[in-house]
């Protein structure tokens, strides 16, 4: 079964755009987590703070694999097209609704409950989307182009992250002409704009997807009455298929998940918290690295059609295992100010006092700037409340961050770029790999589960476990990397020994 190139482009575009939007929707919540926590989950209310923890953990770890099962089942019974259309509507609707929910101060305890429910819906929808899109594209693609065409789906998670970072940065800067006023307005209500923006994207994507036809392979199965009556049971209870689900998880997706999250999330957290880099510079460093590396998803997907999927994925894992510690050591060294001499002539302290209308106090912002000979500027910003009555001032915890000179900035872009190259190697060919090891009638269910366990659970745990290791073994600032290295290491051994490098000539079965 082949379709012409123009039709194939439409299939890829319709599938990729929708998946990209779903990732965008999922990431804006994560990227805006501190602001959302302040709006909906105040620490002063212990139950609200508890719901915040649930929103963070449950959506990623429990609901995503559950969504993979629920929508996978639907996709294998009803069809790919309508299932991933449904996940898109669910994701878009819940994202838009989060942007509309009044804050805790306005509606009280209902606010965190509504936001938690909507966040869980987001996780559920995401769990069902990827498998559908990858399956849909693969079932249209000719054998010699399966890796190349499905690699477009593989770009979407990274591009969704890029889009979310870009939209947040642009909105944060455009709220007012004064930068500080703009940030304040963004934290007050402007954070809702990226959520509202989602409805435009989702609307367009639904329009495009509605015009698409059902997967031809699924239609053939349906016409002949051979669709599965119970895809979950067939996927997980039949020994011959369960062994492939387990092999996909432990031999490919769990390693892919930790490499993905280390390169794109832990790297960002590390720059911000361990290297103490400025908020905007951290984001733009990641944005540049993503922009330069993203085409490589297509390159590796394409290449996998010629040399097989296995060795590209295994090479990505091996390179990540070997290179992570040297890369992060270099990131620390490049941004270190302890060994650099301070240029006292350029150091200064600035104080700004802003009286607040109608309040009996003013805000004093003190910025201490130290410039080092390696060009790094270290800023410490502290805010004090000064009472007009002369009462004792209230001091907030000072924020310290570094602003990097160009040479260090671009060196960090290069180091993140290398990490994202590893991501493109392990992630680019994986959709084709997953599609090929499962039969059509239970493909949606069977491939979604290992993907979301590997990516959502093993990958999603990376920042938490890395931070946890850091608090347990404080002497080594790189100790957090042992988690992705160990998981990728086990995956590399399992994948190398047990996986086949064979490209399935026929997914029409």
């Amino acid at each position: 079964m082949t379709i012409d190139k123009g039709q194939m482009r439409k299939v890829i575009f319709a599938s990729s755009v929708g998946t990209l939007i779903e990732w965008y929707d999922f990431y804006i919540f994560g990227s805006l987590a501190p602001i959302i926590a302040a709006q909906f989950f105040p620490k002063s209310d212990p139950t609200a703070a508890l719901l915040s923890t649930l929103a963070t953990f449950a959506a990623g770890f429990i609901v995503r694999p559950f969504g993979a099962l629920v929508f996978g089942r639907l996709g294998d019974k009803v069809g790919r097209k309508y299932t991933f259309l449904l996940t898109l509507v669910l994701m878009g609707g819940s994202t838009f609704a989060i942007g509309l929910v009044p804050g805790y101060e306005t509606i009280g305890f209902a606010a965190p409950i509504i936001v938690l429910m909507l966040r869980l819906l987001q996780g559920l929808a995401l769990g069902g989307e990827y498998g559908g899109a990858a399956t849909y594209v693969a079932e249209h693609a000719p054998e010699h182009k399966r890796g190349a065409y499905t690699s477009w789906i593989q770009t979407t998670a990274t591009l969704g992250l890029l889009l979310s970072l870009g939209i947040i940065l642009i909105t944060r800067k455009s709220m007012a002409s004064d930068p500080m006023d703009s940030i304040r307005a963004f934290e007050d209500w402007g954070w809702r704009i990226p959520f509202w923006f989602s409805v435009v994207l989702v609307g367009m994507s639904i329009y495009i997807r509605l015009k698409m036809h059902e997967s031809p392979l699924f239609m053939r199965l349906k016409t002949s009455g051979k669709t599965s009556t119970n895809p979950i049971r067939e996927s997980l209870m039949k020994r011959s298929n369960l062994k492939m689900v387990l092999l996909a998880l432990f031999g490919a997706t769990m390693g892919q998940g930790v490499v993905w999250y280390t390169g794109q999330f832990y790297a960002q957290t590390f720059l911000e918290n361990a290297c103490k880099i400025d908020f905007e510079q951290t984001r733009t460093i990641l944005i540049w690295a993503i922009v330069f590396a993203t085409p490589l998803f297509i390159v590796f997907g394409n290449w996998s059609d010629r040399v097989g999927r296995k060795w590209i994925i295994m090479s990505g894992l091996l390179l990540a295992i070997v290179a992570y510690r040297p890369i992060y050591r270099t990131m620390l060294d490049l941004t270190d100010t302890a060994t650099s001499v301070k240029d006292d002539a350029k150091s200064r302290i600035e104080k700004v006092i802003v009286p607040l209308q109608g309040k009996e106090y003013s805000l004093q912002t003190s910025t201490t700037l130290h410039v080092y000979q390696n060009g790094i500027e270290e800023k410490t910003v502290s805010t004090d409340t000064l009472f007009n009555s002369g009462a004792e001032r209230v001091q907030f915890k000072p924020k310290q961050f570094k602003v990097l000179p160009n040479n260090v900035y671009w060196a960090l872009v290069a180091l993140l770029f290398i990490q994202i190259v590893f991501v493109t190697m392990v992630y680019g060919p994986i959709a084709a790999f997953l599609v090929e090891i499962f039969p059509t009638k239970i493909r949606y269910t069977s491939m979604s589960l290992p993907y979301h366990l590997g990516n959502g659970v093993f990958g999603g745990m990376t920042p938490f476990i890395a931070v946890l290791l850091g608090t347990m073994y404080t002497a080594d600032p790189l100790v957090g990397l042992w988690y992705p290295i160990a998981v990728a290491g086990i995956c590399l051994i399992i994948g190398t020994i047990y996986l086949s490098n064979r490209i399935d000539p026929n997914v029409n079965d």
Binding site: F57, N241, Y498, D509
Partner: protein, 81 residues
């Protein structure tokens, strides 16, 4: 190679059991050290979500030990039978 696949199965089973025991012990220690709702929820979710994964690794090791991975299927018909 099939012998390596088979005997490594024992290692995967051992890793599954040991890693879950370590995770469970750490969860208990963390909850005992700071018994707040946040800590309990976080560590309970870790313990719950990793249980099926540890069982999965155990089954994977068992299947490897039984020789199920000596020959991977070449077509879907082999999976269906």
């Amino acid at each position: 190679m099939n012998a390596i696949k088979k005997y490594l199965g024992l290692i995967w089973m051992a890793i599954a059991i040991l890693s879950y025991v370590v995770l469970f012990q750490t969860a208990m220690e963390k909850i005992a050290a700071k018994p707040t709702a946040d800590t309990i929820i976080e560590w309970s979710i870790f313990a719950i979500i990793f249980l099926p994964i540890a069982i999965g690794l155990l089954i994977f090791g068992w299947l490897a030990w039984k020789g199920d991975y000596s020959q991977l299927p070449l077509s879907s018909e082999e999976i269906e039978d």
